[in-house]
């Protein structure tokens, strides 16, 4: 465990804490003296990549963040948008990649716990979680162990804390074999007047620490896990594994929301990375006030914990509430009712400094009691001439270094882009080849196959909002707080495309999420991103990052989607190899009047099948090419304007109930889209698509519709006036998946291949750590 007092004398402390000599110099400069051990520990965590965004900040500014309905943009616990009728929605996404690689169950569980705290710390009731997940190939036992553990962790924590997991993603690709990606999104609803920010102001007001006791677990978690790349074995990190307690968090949710309803808090902040040092200093820094903290007032889990451990511990399920002394008793009573610990750990000052004491508040009469010391601990000394163990300018912790890291495209990129899979595919699959086995193979690919093995383990129905749960395009949640509004949510990432062109890859991720949302009849309202990248000290990685930001910014502008929050995860690498750049986006859309569930993805017998959008011979980065070992080429083009037109048309077709079934084209191309629609509708089809390339191309901005014959003309007419290309592919009916000259597969065979793929792999040979 990285504890300053335990580390070998050889390497200087700041190096052990992951700080550079320059960063230490900056601290000395800031303080005009050498920092104390505690001060150094606090700076090391607060200035870590994870907390300070020191490598990414210079780029993130290029994202569009504004729209009239945005109430809170990036920079707070969560983004907040106004959905009307006095109701607002808070949303945020976070990564927990490294902890999940060390201990999949607890890593994922504490990831869920952390993102949920971000949401209710804004005054919102968390009502939905989504979990975009990425692993190595599923035939590797280590991957099965991680997959099983992560899914169990999300299930175990999310279900018990009482927040439904309504959707997500699972992707399996060799790029993530050594470094899985576990991202979690949370969404909450609140009456606008309950919105609260993490602010500490008013000299003499008190910082009440609520929830779990503070332990040695997770000390230095942020700096060690997020700054140092994830290393094989990782023995050194194991002691900093965190165990989540969903029961404690559930009580915290109820207590905090009650606190805010009663108007008892001035500000609320969750304790996350850097624990108390971050929460206490950040809240006061935002108002230019100061903060005194007394480590002796913090309830400790273990005997003999020193202030360094107390201030940097990242123990889970803790919140900080800023309250006035008059309200203290009420706050403590409310916490007692919910059976959660609450202790006065800090006091707001006007010193402009962050000061940490160890036994001082009693002496100077700060209200509140010292918690009972853990067994074997001697009560901490108390004296009024007890000097601070840390005393720093309060702003300096939060305003870490800013790096303009060098950028350079990977040398191999041009070569990879030039190497298009098409020629090779034509060789392997000359015109007229029967593609039935190719289709069956794709349906059985874990990237395409039925994911219900995952989401059946998640409570995805709690709160009676889930109108469309996992298994379709976007998830749809009704807002019972409103007359008839509903939200649509989708998370998507396109790492393979990003690897071939990070700018286009980012655009394609935004387009797919927005397209999914449009397919449920919603209008896109906001986007959050989770940017999973390799080592920022590699110029290629920073180039990929910069390109990603530009691509995402363009796509968001074109679609009118403000970016209301995000998260950057660097150092996703193993054995020095960086993961494919993997921006994951979550898009939330609004349905103004939800009168009946959206049509869903199923075909209806007797319907005509219509494709909106244009298919081009685009196989670069496609599931089909990748399965056959071809990972090169260019990703599909991302035509932003035609995407915007498509989304508008599709949303109106759905809200006007002109289609019986609708599904967007993504992994595996239109052939897979049609197969999924057939499986869902339990009916076959006869269509004309074209050759293998046309069947499996992953051209963007395409949607397949199941349309009643008597509505066909209206649909085609609307497409025409909406300037969206539309073709009739054929008809739904029978028990055969048939495409002229391409494939012909019995529906039961397709259904089995798709449904059994993941369960049978997970049943085979039990997973081993």
């Amino acid at each position: 465990m990285t504890r300053p007092d335990e580390t070998p004398a050889a390497t200087p402390l700041h190096i052990q804490l992951g700080m550079t000599d320059e960063e230490l110099a900056a601290v000395v400069d800031e303080l005009g003296r050498r920092p104390t051990g505690l001060e150094l520990a606090m700076y090391s965590v607060m200035w870590s990549e994870h907390c300070s965004y020191k490598s990414s900040r210079v780029h993130l500014g290029r994202l569009p963040t504004e729209a009239p309905w945005v109430l809170v943009g990036p920079g707070e616990g969560a983004g907040v948008i106004d959905v009307g009728e006095g109701i607002a929605v808070a949303i945020r996404i976070e990564s927990h990649n490294h902890p999940s690689a060390v201990e999949p169950y607890q890593g994922a569980a504490t990831g869920v716990g952390g993102i949920i705290r971000d949401i209710f710390s804004m005054g919102a009731r968390p009502i939905a979680v989504m979990d975009p997940l990425r692993f190595g190939p599923l035939d590797d036992p280590r991957t099965r162990y991680l997959f099983e553990g992560v899914v169990s962790g999300i299930s175990g924590y999310g279900n018990a804390v009482g927040v439904p997991t309504v959707g997500g993603e699972v992707v399996f690709d060799e790029s993530y074999a050594g470094n899985p990606l576990v991202n979690v999104l949370c969404l909450g609803v609140l009456p606008k007047e309950r919105l609260i920010l993490a602010r500490a102001e008013g000299v003499g007001n008190l910082a009440v620490l609520m929830g779990s006791s503070t332990g040695r677990d997770g000390i230095g978690g942020a700096s060690v896990l997020a700054s140092a790349g994830f290393v094989e074995g990782s023995e050194t990190k194991r002691p900093s594994v965190q165990v989540g307690d969903p029961f404690e968090e559930k009580k915290l949710i109820e207590a905090c929301l009650e606190l805010l309803d009663a108007g008892l808090a001035i500000g609320v902040q969750d304790l996350g990375a850097a624990g108390l040092s971050c929460a206490a200093s950040e809240t006061a820094a935002k108002t230019g006030a100061g903060m005194d903290v007394d480590a002796a007032r913090v309830a400790k889990r273990e005997p003999g914990m020193n202030p360094v451990e107390v201030l940097t511990s990242e123990s889970q399920e803790r919140m900080l509430a800023i309250v006035t002394p008059e309200h203290l008793d009420e706050v403590l009573a409310l916490c007692a009712r919910w059976e959660i610990r609450a202790t006065v750990a800090g006091r707001v000052t006007d010193s402009g400094r962050f000061r940490v004491f160890d036994g001082y508040f009693d002496a100077v009469g700060v209200p509140g009691e010292n918690p009972a010391p853990p067994l074997g601990d001697d009560p901490s000394r108390v004296s009024s001439d007890n000097p601070p163990v840390a005393d720093v300018p309060i702003g300096s912790l939060g305003d870490g270094p800013l790096y303009h890291r060098p950028l350079a495209p990977p040398d191999s990129l041009a070569e990879r882009q030039a190497d298009d899979p098409r020629a090779e595919m034509r060789k392997r699959f000359p015109a007229g080849t029967d593609l039935s086995d190719e289709l069956l193979g794709l349906l059985a690919s874990p990237n395409v196959a039925d994911t219900s093995w995952v989401w059946r383990q998640y409570d995805h129905q709690l709160f009676l909002n889930t109108v469309a749960g996992p298994g379709g395009d976007a998830s749809v949640l009704r807002l019972k707080e409103t007359t008839a509004k509903a939200l649509a949510l989708s998370v998507d990432g396109k790492g393979r495309f990003s690897a071939l062109d990070p700018k286009v890859g980012a655009q394609l991720a935004v387009l797919e999420a927005a397209r999914n949302v449009a397919c449920s009849g919603a209008r896109g309202m906001a986007l959050v991103n989770c940017l999973n990248f390799g080592n920022p000290e590699h110029p290629e990685v920073m180039w990929q990052f910069s390109e990603t930001i530009d691509g995402m910014a363009d796509a968001c502008r074109a679609l009118g989607l403000p970016v209301v929050g995000g998260n950057v995860s660097f150092y996703n690498e193993s054995h020095g190899v960086d993961i494919d750049p993997t921006p994951v986006v979550g898009v939330v859309g609004l349905i103004d009047r939800l009168l009946a569930p959206p049509p869903g993805i199923g075909l209806r017998a007797g319907d005509r099948i219509v494709m909106l959008g244009q298919t081009r011979p685009e196989l670069g980065g496609s599931e089909w090419a990748t399965r056959l070992g071809l990972r090169n080429g260019r990703p599909p083009a991302a035509d932003l304007e035609s995407a915007r037109l498509l989304h508008e048309l599709v949303a109106s077709l759905v809200t006007d109930r002109l289609v019986d079934g609708i599904h967007d084209c993504s992994d595996g191309g239109v052939a897979v889209t049609l197969a999924e629609m057939a499986i869902a509708g339990e009916v076959g089809f006869r269509v004309t698509i074209g050759d293998a390339t046309m069947c499996f191309s992953e051209s963007a901005s395409r949607v397949v519709l199941s349309v009643a014959p008597d509505r066909l003309n209206e649909v085609l007419g609307r497409a025409g006036s909406g300037r969206v290309p539309a073709v009739v592919l054929g008809d739904a009916g029978g028990a055969e998946l048939h495409a002229d000259g391409a494939f012909s597969v019995p529906l039961p065979a397709a259904t089995r291949a798709w449904r059994d793929a993941i369960p049978s792999i997970m049943r085979a040979a039990p997973v081993v750590g």
Binding site: A160, G162, K250, W455, Q461
Partner: protein, 229 residues
């Protein structure tokens, strides 16, 4: 007059608002009873809803059954008042000894959230009074510990006295004799793993749970009349 249903809230309970919503959609009134309360404020019936009371730590329902409110719930049950435990509530009623048996981890050792088919096997209970024997209902389950077990003697008793009110068609969790829900001898205390409140609105996929919730409301109304007279 509309029946008043009390919905118990332990720390960790999470379905209380859903049950309240569903009851009110059906024209009943429902109020939350915090676990620390000792009296039931004169409600006509009690629902112990789903969730994770006390985190399900140690055993599901093990700690919850000692909450002050449970004394009053036991009194209501003894007096013939309707008491229904849904999911975690079923587990609590078993731990409290108001219903026989116990619920263990699912046979597959996985949490299961899915819609299952149930057959109504007894209508002699406050929850199935309005249903017909043999009716098949599509209602979601949402549990890790729904695997019903009891001694052979208890099972024989349950079967002989037709106290199994709901059975799974296609047992999802390994429950003994496909048991999804049982009642006490008098029929006023019921426990079931499936969530009727999650099947109370077509926009959510099924309204097969309404017949059960209605039966409960009717039983509560009867109880109210009885107490009044």
């Amino acid at each position: 007059m509309s029946a008043r249903i009390g919905v118990v809230q332990f720390p960790g309970t999470n379905c209380e608002l859903d049950v309240q919503h569903a009851v009110e959609q059906l024209g009943g009134t429902a109020e939350i009873l915090f676990h620390a309360e000792r009296d039931l404020r004169g409600v006509d019936a009690v629902v112990v809803p789903g969730g994770f009371a006390h985190g399900d730590y140690l055993r599901t329902g093990a700690i919850a059954r000692f909450s002050p409110v449970m004394g009053a719930v036991a009194d209501l049950a003894a007096a013939g008042g309707p008491v229904v435990g849904i999911c975690n509530g079923f587990q609590v009623l078993c731990e409290a000894g108001l219903l026989p048996g116990a619920l263990q981890k699912n046979a597959g050792l996985k949490f299961l959230c899915e819609t299952v088919e149930l057959r109504v096997d007894s209508t002699a209970s406050v929850l199935t009074g309005g249903a017909r024997r043999g009716d098949v209902l599509r209602i979601p389950i949402n549990h890790f510990e729904g695997n019903y077990v009891c001694s052979p003697e208890t099972l024989a008793e349950l079967c002989d006295e037709q106290r199994v009110i709901l059975r799974y068609i296609g047992n999802p969790n390994g429950s003994l004799d496909d048991i999804a829900g049982i009642r006490n001898a008098a029929g006023n205390v019921v426990g079931l793993m499936p969530h009727p409140e999650r099947a109370s609105d077509l926009v959510l996929g099924s309204d097969d749970g309404i017949v059960l919730l209605r039966s409960l409301l009717d039983a509560a109304t009867e109880r109210a009349a009885l107490v009044a007279s």
